[in-house]
């Protein structure tokens, strides 16, 4: 159950030239990956005259909070207050993530630890669903939502997130590591399967549910609501962001400020959960 992660890189068969090459390539990769983030952070703090400077300067020279001020003004004057977009996004992300963890763990436990007819079929359907992108079925999804009367309702975004297949897959793979003996002895003591799940299994798969929080929250945090939500009152933060960006070059500074606000949340969650996420991913392998 408890994974022992390797603490030191091993030293056999490592040449100096190889190390040098690896460091160079990593450095190039890191610069490419970091560039737009650094650009976003810098632009967010640039005063207008630096944003419209020619030739453009990459780094900010006189950092200011003007852009955030502008963002606040823009949002305060918008028809729907900024706090509303924020509330919508938070509500969707928190409820969706919670429901996802509860439903996915409840389904993952029997799939990992019980033998019953149909278990294999269900699991292969889940794996198959990892093989195509959800966008493919946008049309029937919309029809189903409208049959259920969920269009223009938070639920249209929240409920489908419950069954995000990657979460169930990771949870099930991770639960398989729990020794059967522990479950068996709990059964001897008269615990029901639900009690075993909540009292024994869930506390010992902390890394897995933290990983599910990261993936699901990040997914929902970025959702614009798409075609499912058309009421301005119910729209989300990323939607507001795209509207600001559509303002073109004049909004560059404000757009960078929003980008910064948007990326801080998932990145913070990842920083906090990183080691647990990696631990979960150690059982993510797809067996033949």
């Amino acid at each position: 159950m408890i994974m022992r992660l390797r603490l030191k890189p091993h030293k056999i068969n490592r040449s100096l030239a190889g190390n040098a090459m690896i460091f160079t390539m990593l450095a190039f990769g890191a610069v490419f990956m970091a560039l737009p983030m650094v650009y976003a952070v810098n632009n967010a703090f640039k005063p207008l005259d630096e944003i419209f400077l020619f030739p453009p300067r990459f780094l900010v020279r006189n950092p200011t909070l003007d852009n955030f001020q502008d963002l606040m003004n823009l949002m305060a004057n918008s028809w729907v207050p900024f706090s509303r977009y924020f509330f919508n996004t938070m509500l969707i992300a928190v409820l969706g993530t919670l429901g996802h963890i509860v439903l996915a763990s409840m389904a993952a436990y029997p799939l990992a630890k019980h033998k019953f007819p149909g278990a294999k079929l269900i699991f292969s359907a889940i794996v198959l669903s990892l093989m195509f992108a959800g966008e493919v079925t946008a049309i029937p999804n919309y029809m189903i939502m409208s049959w259920l009367g969920l269009v223009n309702n938070y639920a249209a975004v929240i409920v489908p997130a419950f069954v995000f297949p990657l979460g169930l897959f990771l949870m099930k793979q991770f639960m398989e590591n729990i020794p059967d003996a522990i479950l068996e002895s709990a059964r001897m003591d008269g615990a029901s399967e639900f009690q075993i799940l909540w009292k024994i299994v869930m506390p010992s798969v902390t890394p897995a549910w933290l990983t599910l929080i990261l993936f699901c929250f990040q997914n929902l945090w970025g959702t614009t609501g798409g075609v499912f939500i058309y009421d301005e009152n119910l729209k989300t933060l990323p939607y507001a962001f795209s509207q600001i960006l559509a303002g073109g070059i004049a909004r560059t500074g404000v757009a960078a400020a929003v980008a910064l606000v948007m990326m801080i949340v998932p990145i913070t969650i990842f920083i906090v959960t990183q080691s647990r996420v990696i631990e979960t991913m150690t059982s993510s392998g797809l067996k033949d």
């Binding site: 091993h10 040449s15 650009y39 944003i51 019953f116 189903i144 990323p238 990696i278 033949d288």
Partner: protein, 308 residues
């Protein structure tokens, strides 16, 4: 024959017995399966059924057989452009992002734990930072305030700004670049994790057996030991590489100049949410679905032979 019938009856009885004994398991799995069926399985079935109809959301669907598919492949030139772009796109971003995920994970694995955590964050961050890829749009902006145009102008490589996001020859490469930037996600983490659980004693034994450098080690030990992770990563990367749409639309707009950034996915959106030709859009969706599943299965089969 009679013995077969008896065999099946016995088997059926046994299954029924097992099912009755697994009531709790079914109860636990029911909410998930119910919703999964409603939002994932049913849409696939509906999409396939609708693809043989004419359906405009106002009138009930009318069965027209293979006509949608005929129209797609024989009459719709834009669809063929979309197919070409999608395959070109997937053929580049799929393998490149897959290898980048592995190679960077492998490099990072050589670092000390603290540096490793930092580099993992740095490489993984773009894929979870939502709309920040829009920053590329500002960097590639077509006027001299765009960072890249500004730089090129300053150093005299060009004399007037290039309309990166409007000229067909730049559109696909730029979408590919941005998509690659976004693609070090779940599979990258899976590889980082997988590399950490490869049994260390294998490396020691290999060194005794005459494995001389890290490349041989990679080929003979690491890759075979990582097979299940490689298969998982392949699923994630392949699926992603065929579904490009939001990045393309956000970067170069819709429709893009000469359809240079047009993919099967954007074609589907065009017919589905603009023209409301749902039957036709469902045919496009069905093809994309089959392409994704097909290429996944193909690559799985290939990876299964790895190290055998």
């Amino acid at each position: 024959m009679a013995s077969y019938a008896a065999y099946f009856r016995r088997k059926l009885n046994l299954t029924w017995l097992l099912m009755k004994r697994s009531k709790v398991s079914y109860l636990m799995i029911a909410p998930y399966v119910l919703l999964f069926f409603t939002f994932t399985v049913l849409p696939v079935i509906m999409s396939m059924a609708l693809s043989s109809t004419y359906f405009n959301l106002l009138e009930p669907p009318r069965f027209i057989g293979w006509q949608n598919y005929q129209r797609l492949f024989l009459e719709d030139d834009v669809f063929l452009i979309a197919v070409k772009n999608t395959f070109l796109f997937a053929a580049i971003t799929g393998p490149v992002s897959y290898m980048a995920c592995f190679i960077f994970a492998w490099f990072i694995n050589e670092l000390s734990p603290r540096l490793r955590a930092f580099m993992t964050l740095l490489f993984y961050a773009p894929s979870i930072s939502g709309n920040v890829y829009m920053m590329w749009q500002l960097m590639f902006s077509g006027d001299s305030y765009g960072y890249i145009n500004g730089m090129l102008l300053k150093y005299g490589f060009i004399s007037e700004p290039i309309l990166f996001l409007k000229e067909p020859q730049y559109i696909l490469p730029i979408i590919i670049l941005v998509q690659l930037w976004l693609s070090l996600g779940t599979s990258f983490l899976a590889f980082i994790a997988g590399l950490q659980v490869v049994d260390r004693s294998l490396y020691e034994a290999a060194a005794v057996d005459g494995i001389r450098n890290r490349w041989q080690e990679l080929w003979f030990i690491t890759l075979p030991a990582m097979r299940s992770f490689l298969m998982f990563g392949a699923v994630v990367q392949i699926t992603q590489s065929f579904a490009v749409s939001s990045v393309a639309v956000a970067m170069v707009g819709f429709p893009s100049t000469d359809y240079a950034g047009h993919t099967i996915m954007t074609h589907l959106m065009d017919y589905g949410s603009i023209r409301f030709d749902m039957g036709y859009a469902s045919a496009i969706a069905t093809i994309l679905f089959l392409v994704m599943i097909g290429s996944n299965k193909l690559v799985q089969r290939f990876l299964r032979t790895l190290g055998d």
